[in-house]
Amino acid sequence: MTIKTSSLGGGGALPRLAPDLTFPSDKSGISVPALVVVPVTPGVLTTTLSLTGKFDVGLLTYGSLVAEAMTHKLTIDGVVIWNDVGSSNTSETLLDGNTYSEHIQCNSSLLLEINTLTDASVTLNYLARPIL
């Protein structure tokens, strides 16, 4: 009988969080969602989030959007995952780990970009946890 390594507790494919030793006294750390305010140039692809290293990402939500057509592009480990123009509302949840138990992982890099029609400033709420 073969037991897959990933089925064994603490090993295999299960992500292991990197230490975040200042939590919870410092809640501005990496264990809680962070909010970035991003100036964007309409018509130009702008990087709202760039991760280098191994991360577990559990939340990607845009806010303060102009409701219009815009492109959301996501590249993970060099592979383009999303790249489409869609009609956005004033807020767009691209990834909500709480509601749908969705998490995505990158092993070396993640790039989230946006291209708007007229919107010149967006906010991105994200939770990116460094993993080992």
Binding site: D26, S50, T52, T123
Partner: protein, 103 residues
């Protein structure tokens, strides 16, 4: 690109800037807490012969820091209002967030 985190193995960057909210201070030193009372209020507390006011004062003297979120703190201030040492608007003023100088 603005660097949000760089610990040597993991890096987070964005064209935007991280919006940070200042940490709320809800524990302040006893001295800072007493300074939130007016001189007349402090004198009235010390001069009071009310057993509960005396107990509140003694309890305060025995502590180093005051937790502004503690129910006991709010209850003590409410009692000081009922004892006519504080006016009814003072508890809210006294329980406002602390400053860096008060910790």
């Amino acid at each position: 690109m603005n660097v949000i985190l760089d610990n040597g193995t993991h890096k987070i960057e964005s064209a935007g800037t991280l919006k940070t909210t200042p940490k709320t201070i809800r524990k302040i030193t006893k001295r800072a807490f007493m300074r939130r009372f007016t001189q007349a209020e402090r004198i009235a507390i010390r001069a009071s012969v009310d057993d509960i006011v005396i107990d509140i004062h003694e309890d305060l003297k025995a502590t180093n820091n005051v937790d502004l979120d503690l129910a006991d703190t709010a209850n003590a201030l409410s009692y000081l209002v009922s004892a006519a040492i504080l006016t009814s608007d003072r508890p809210d003023e006294i329980l406002t967030d602390g400053t860096q100088e008060e910790v």
